[in-house]
Point group: D2
Chain length 364, copies 4
Amino acid sequence: MPGNSIGERFKLTTFGESHGPALGGVLDGMPAAVQLDLDRIQAELQRRRPGQSKLTTARKENDTVTLLSGVFEGRTTGTPIGFTIPNGDAKPGDYSHLEGQYRPSHADYTYDAKFGTRDHRGGGRSSARETAARVVAGAMARQFLEQLYPQGPAPAVGAYVERVQDIAMPSPPAYYDAGTVDAHAVRCPDPDTARRMEARILEVKKAGDTVGGSIVVVAKGIPPGWGEPVFDKLHADLAKALWSLPAVKGLELGSGFSGTLMKGSEHNDAFTGKSGSIRTTTNHSGGIQGGISNGEDIILRVGFKPVATLLTDQNSVNQAGEDVVLSGRGRHDPCVLPRAVPMVEAMVLLVLADHALRQRSARL
Amino acid sequence: MPGNSIGERFKLTTFGESHGPALGGVLDGMPAAVQLDLDRIQAELQRRRPGQSKLTTARKENDTVTLLSGVFEGRTTGTPIGFTIPNGDAKPGDYSHLEGQYRPSHADYTYDAKFGTRDHRGGGRSSARETAARVVAGAMARQFLEQLYPQGPAPAVGAYVERVQDIAMPSPPAYYDAGTVDAHAVRCPDPDTARRMEARILEVKKAGDTVGGSIVVVAKGIPPGWGEPVFDKLHADLAKALWSLPAVKGLELGSGFSGTLMKGSEHNDAFTGKSGSIRTTTNHSGGIQGGISNGEDIILRVGFKPVATLLTDQNSVNQAGEDVVLSGRGRHDPCVLPRAVPMVEAMVLLVLADHALRQRSARL
Amino acid sequence: MPGNSIGERFKLTTFGESHGPALGGVLDGMPAAVQLDLDRIQAELQRRRPGQSKLTTARKENDTVTLLSGVFEGRTTGTPIGFTIPNGDAKPGDYSHLEGQYRPSHADYTYDAKFGTRDHRGGGRSSARETAARVVAGAMARQFLEQLYPQGPAPAVGAYVERVQDIAMPSPPAYYDAGTVDAHAVRCPDPDTARRMEARILEVKKAGDTVGGSIVVVAKGIPPGWGEPVFDKLHADLAKALWSLPAVKGLELGSGFSGTLMKGSEHNDAFTGKSGSIRTTTNHSGGIQGGISNGEDIILRVGFKPVATLLTDQNSVNQAGEDVVLSGRGRHDPCVLPRAVPMVEAMVLLVLADHALRQRSARL
Amino acid sequence: MPGNSIGERFKLTTFGESHGPALGGVLDGMPAAVQLDLDRIQAELQRRRPGQSKLTTARKENDTVTLLSGVFEGRTTGTPIGFTIPNGDAKPGDYSHLEGQYRPSHADYTYDAKFGTRDHRGGGRSSARETAARVVAGAMARQFLEQLYPQGPAPAVGAYVERVQDIAMPSPPAYYDAGTVDAHAVRCPDPDTARRMEARILEVKKAGDTVGGSIVVVAKGIPPGWGEPVFDKLHADLAKALWSLPAVKGLELGSGFSGTLMKGSEHNDAFTGKSGSIRTTTNHSGGIQGGISNGEDIILRVGFKPVATLLTDQNSVNQAGEDVVLSGRGRHDPCVLPRAVPMVEAMVLLVLADHALRQRSARL
């Protein structure tokens, strides 16, 4: 299928450009009988919304989602859920100077190279604005997962900003709930680190520059058995989903690159049955072995590059391939990380929901 | 579809267990009229073959591939290419002690958790042996890509071992041809580094232990325009393909995690038209912008954990969840990296071939 | 993927219930640079619209489509085209008596059996109203196909009502343009047959009863080479697409069932090169041989059952499985065929557009 | 995906040409823990085998299937099942006269039109010989379905020849077991009709000509709820699967075309709860309503054209488009229907197994 769908059994298809009439999507495969709390969906959209703090772009969007189908009397019916999010504060005129020019490290040139044409207004389809539809679908995936085991501990997925440029959390990856994470605008759960990150972002913003960093996401309460070898390994599908987000430069699972410095005798996660169930005493594996969840926390680290939109002059070319100097304009984020937290959660939730359903056909 | 296929238009489906009668696959979507050189396919299999040097497992396999369909008088016909690779030196008896026990950081437990059963002989389907089928298909993808632009520079994909544990190449990622890479058994193109890596691997092997490291893969000659936003971005599909290999712990594109420490003004790749075509003066993007190739080298770094099979005793559990001590036995690699080089190339080649075909429907 | 998408490279995903806020869809894979005439899309929707003549349901719907993305300055951009069609004249109250009861030969019972729940208002997702989104996408497919060969004869797809109950066209299947077909409300191009069909439908309507019949669809100007053996044969994909329409009971290709009465020596289509290109002297094959188009007209006949909604009393059961007598109410069509003509065309157009793109990867 | 796979969760991919080294396939998605009886799989292949009676082609093939993976100690493991069927009695030399010529109503011309090349030996990939792999996979699907409800009545699928040319069964479609059907070489369960059919086939064979007819297939014991609206309706997927078989010209579900002559009041299937469960008093629907099974017998009729290979001279063209006279040679079936019975069953079984698994994600 073309590139705007993700998932096998729990499948999201999205559409929409940054400055068109609306964004939206279709979530097909949501099982029937899930109670959908619309306020919680809207609340997740608010976490991704531009203009939520001085750390983010000044674009003002209410980002109100409207469900068009698939829900009846508050519960899903098993039919596809169509939804739209209107673009309110579109200012396409802001981008007219970009019509024939390519912004460095943006998708302007490559879209033209691919399609022979592009909607240049605000990056068109390549804008991070398209992730709003992912957050809506991720919020629905979360509610599905929460209702999956009425008796057991609910699966939970939480992300946070671990590092902004070189300012990093002092503690190893762990699960934090959204309340703790959102206590600071930068979405780092450690108060002291959060303050230093925010100062850095504002300083960089003042200079018209941008910074990147890393986000950690932890999924807990995932039962053993999710993931389909050999190509649709759970972490392979998570990797694809996370790498499909804008600005991703690196990904680690569990021990990550630091694990590649260890010896096997140090890195292996010993099993123990002492607790009455099969667990590992360490979790270098990051909750996945052989592509299948093992019941431990799934731990991933995602690196994001500094935002490519600058408010300074840059060397570039126009469509004719002639060198030009591009002047910085438009609204943008000095650091994508705070708003990327709900995007990262959404992608992980979508993959987990998909594999929750896929797992149902593993056995007679 | 279930998890044993990869690709949309250039699709590989594989089958086979470590100690069953044969491995194999079906490559569907290979265009007609590609001249297939079987010797080159076989040669790539030899690069992956166990027992090729003292750095690898002692298992002896000829790994001879037989094509069963889709090729007529030396050229592809457009119909699916079925192929098999018999398992020769299978010693399933070596694994009988594992029938009821779970090896740490292997897929033994998770396969049981998923399927309620498993073929315990040598890891069954979870064995890295299944990648032989990928290497065959990757070798065919390579020949397709080479013949795609008879006039232009042929796309080329080359991987090499950049680091074993903490012993790393002194130079940044670059393209090296297979001859240079294969000059040393460890598949590091820098002679001095290669010698030190080999010494480390033999030292670790002697101790019954294992080490990991990283592989760099570079694709050059890829035209601008490949990749399908927003979910099937070129690097998202590459990420999935590479993370589907056994033992992967981390992945970086272009500047990778180190790029997340830079400011936007440092990280952006300025465009220039000086050469007569649109190029970038740096390549922090790693050849992909907005999920679409931009014509620069595609550069990825893959981190591999130390092999989980040890020749020492380890704490583990049996199927009943009781603690046991597992004694190390069987044949294995002290370091997966030299043999992973052709696997990494194969996965990149498969994704590129797929997007070469997908790109054909981008425009009227 | 779940069941609400169709197509590999030209893929439509639809959503929407009969009495929800809106229907809609996402068309992903439309190539860039297609000039889209919105008036023509809307005109095709009008052909499917309820309330267009006394032969159809009294439900009044403007059926106005809104495009939300994927089109910029009148041309497609290669990004997904999202669209919605609001439900205007929804009267869900008309269906409250059906909440706990199952209408015979409708999908009420089977939706409950599958999902454990259903939106009972007007059939919910099972209503033929969902085909509005198909007609929109089919109209876009038509414009793509028309622009595919600027030099050559444009592919054209035309359907018409061949038979209502036992009143049938006196002539064999052939291509008729929309103007000729639409000259009569019943959409039969033969004036005398059309008049008799219309009289029959009105007579049956008066009795609160319904009738079925058959539609012929012809695609001309399709070049040889479209279709992918062995499972995605062109007629296999056409069959799936057409059988996915409501009320279909039978399908024939070319000579159809009557061809199964002939001997091979009578049925084979002899080739001749007399015209300067390779053609067949007869067309029992219906334009497809071995699953691939051969350049002759593609000819299909689709049989539709009489509409299941009656205005008379019927024996049925309620959700508890108790026998009840169901009284006929609500708005409905006495004969689905006139409005099914644009639906049939849409499904054929979608499949052809998909295979037009798939064909592009057949050769090196 | 390219065209040689079928199924979403229970997916068969096939490969192989008529005169290559082997046919085969990969069945991915078979759940773990199914007991596989290899003798029964082989027995189903024997039903499809050439040379089984004087009614079929003289080609002699043992058609012995070898399973290469996915089965351990007699039970499926959940991993893909690879299998091969060697081509024994290949006589490619018999076809050398066809290298540059196109047989009428075969796929010779269209394969060349698509791929620009073809394997001309015995039709290559377009030969009905490729259906052997389908029969193997269908036989495995049957065993899966039989073990699906250990307590309940097992789903069963039975096909038979209903009509050869104009010689037809006197009774309406019904389920017959394989023993009854196979009592006559022609696979018609009515002895008198069978004898007349066999006489007709031999008479036609003597004249070097061929005949077609129709096959009925009935699936019983299918629970309500299988099938995924709106595009993957159960009968839409069945239609695609059946139309993917060679030589199909028509398909009917339940009442079929004769149902299109009835009024709604005659055609509707009244529900009744008298038996303690919800059933219909008639079955014009053919077991499927709104694309979802309703628990009644699923009844389909498939029309097959007369075999295109004749032993008489025919007008045709060569690759240069010049008129030629083609002389009849080679081995072939005078009537495809007896051997098509297991093929039809296989396709229905594959679709049912797929939807059995897909249904598992319909509800929370």
